[in-house]
Amino acid sequence: MKNTIIIYRKQLKDTGKNMALWIQFVMFPVMAAIMENSIRVEGMPEHFFVGMFTVMHVGMAPLTVSAAIISEEKEKNTLRMLRFANVKPLEYLCGTGGFVFTACMAGGVAFGFLGGYMGEKLLLFCLIMAAGILASMLFGAAIGVWSRTQIAATAVVTPMMMVFAFLPMLAMFNQTIEKIADIAYSQHIQLLLNSLNAGTPAEAKNVIVIAANVMIAAVLFGIAYRRRGLM
């Protein structure tokens, strides 16, 4: 537990000095805040931008950040030094994962307030975010562990993040894309948010697809961990 906390703190401090990373955490909440308050189009649903950027935040930030952090530690050989200080792989993953999760959730809560959610609705909103962030983060961690360098990780992360972040938006305009998007967790985060906004009950399918995504990501992570190892 002590080591996990040290890793968490280290990551907090390091990310603060790494603009390329912390910008990922704040970019979409800030953009949503600006657009919500400045753009008004006739007939546009309420909090349209909050909904759109929430899904992008979930699809992008946890994925890119966790892949970047882990692959950089592999590339720079800092993980080896951690192992020699008797830090267990699980302690490392909990510290790093805990940081990425809480930092992304902070953005998530900001979205909740921007979207005007209150009480039970805010809680549900955060729960939906948490599920999406978990899936996204696990995919990112799998890529980070698999990659030997940061550049290699980015090469995989970029197309994946495009798919997850933009599919739900494109699916609104195109039926074929909607069918493809149906297997992506981010699409179902979008659908869950839609029903939350409309006050209609969520479909079981939404939860099942997200859970399946989390499981697939966890399996991919397991494979990467076994084949490439962490340290």
């Binding site: 002590k2 040290i6 390091d14 720079k76 080896r80 192992r83 020699f84 008797n86």
Partner: protein, 302 residues
């Protein structure tokens, strides 16, 4: 007092694919001594350090530290190992102090110790600068201070002074000497003869994965010191070597050159570890280095 074996390398062989990088290495190191592993680029020095520190399980053979097999008992042994590899492994955006503080936390070492080791390497003044702003010498010193932070019984230093200026090198030598006084067993690799002769009780010369000579530096030098030579450098740029066994002939030659005013410099060329190595293997220890001319500033070939 009985001399204790601290590091026991037994018939270690390492393959990478088809390539045999280490061939049947056997070597033992007494507790509290400094041993130097000398060899040109690609000889297998880093590979042997990786095996000794349990980062690599050898294809055959074993390494025992204090009687513990490194292939099995790694975790418990890590507490006793301080290590400085050729890629240093820092969080470059964080300050030197923060880097060490993180490890002090893992090792349960009081934070006062961070200040102590930073002062020892003369970096306390720069403790707040991010490591990425450090020069190579500062990074090496920081790596050394991290390696000794938890007062390990073993110190493995992979080319601790490669690419450093003489002043920094001297500072690192002092620290290594201090560690030895504190009873630490130190295993270092180098291509620097002067360094090995100055610091090490024993040296092993590694060539193509085999140890071609082992012993005290002075003893090795004496063993190969059967023909002292004189080196004359002429103004014309020509170099002449004279065997001193043939004293009369040599004296006559020197006299002639002196008389005609052709001599720029005269050196005695006593065999040192460098020439011993050259004689044993036909290869220079500096082979594969970019700036091998300057004794203190070896470039990294890889």
């Amino acid at each position: 007092m009985a001399i204790k074996t601290a590091i026991d390398i037994r018939r270690v062989t390492q393959y990478f694919g088809e390539q045999k990088v280490l061939a049947d290495i056997t070597l033992s190191v007494e507790k509290g001594e400094i041993i130097g592993l000398l060899g040109p680029s690609g000889a297998g020095k880093t590979t042997l350090i990786k095996i000794m520190t349990g980062q690599l399980v050898p294809s055959a053979g074993s390494v025992m530290l204090d009687g513990h097999d490194m292939a099995e008992a790694k975790q418990e042994m890590y507490r006793n190992i301080g290590m400085m590899m050729d890629d240093l492994g820092f969080y470059e955006r964080l300050s030197g102090y923060d880097n060490l503080k993180i490890f002090a936390g893992f090792y349960d070492v009081p934070e006062a110790r961070v200040r102590e080791v930073l002062e020892q390497v003369g970096l306390y003044r720069y403790r707040k600068s991010p490591v990425q702003k450090f020069s190579k010498g500062m990074k090496n010193r920081l790596a050394l201070s991290r390696a000794v932070l938890h007062r390990p019984a073993f110190l493995f230093l992979d080319e601790p002074t490669a690419g450093l200026d003489p002043a920094t090198t001297l500072q690192i030598h002092k620290m290594i000497g201090q560690m030895q006084k504190d009873g630490v067993t130190i295993f270092l690799t180098t291509h620097n003869m002067v360094e090995a002769e100055k610091l090490c009780k024993h040296v092993a010369l590694l060539h193509d994965g085999s140890i071609v000579e082992y012993g005290e530096p002075q003893a090795i030098n004496r063993k190969y010191n059967y023909r002292n030579r004189l080196k004359i450098h002429l103004y014309s740029g020509e170099d002449i070597e004279l065997e001193l066994q043939n004293a009369k002939e040599a004296a006559k030659t020197v006299f002639e050159y002196l008389q005609s005013g052709q001599i720029e410099t005269i050196h005695s060329a006593e065999p040192d570890l460098e020439s011993v190595f050259l004689e044993l293997t036909g290869r220079s220890l500096q082979e594969g280095r970019q700036d091998a001319e300057e004794d203190w500033s070896f470039g990294k070939a890889d």
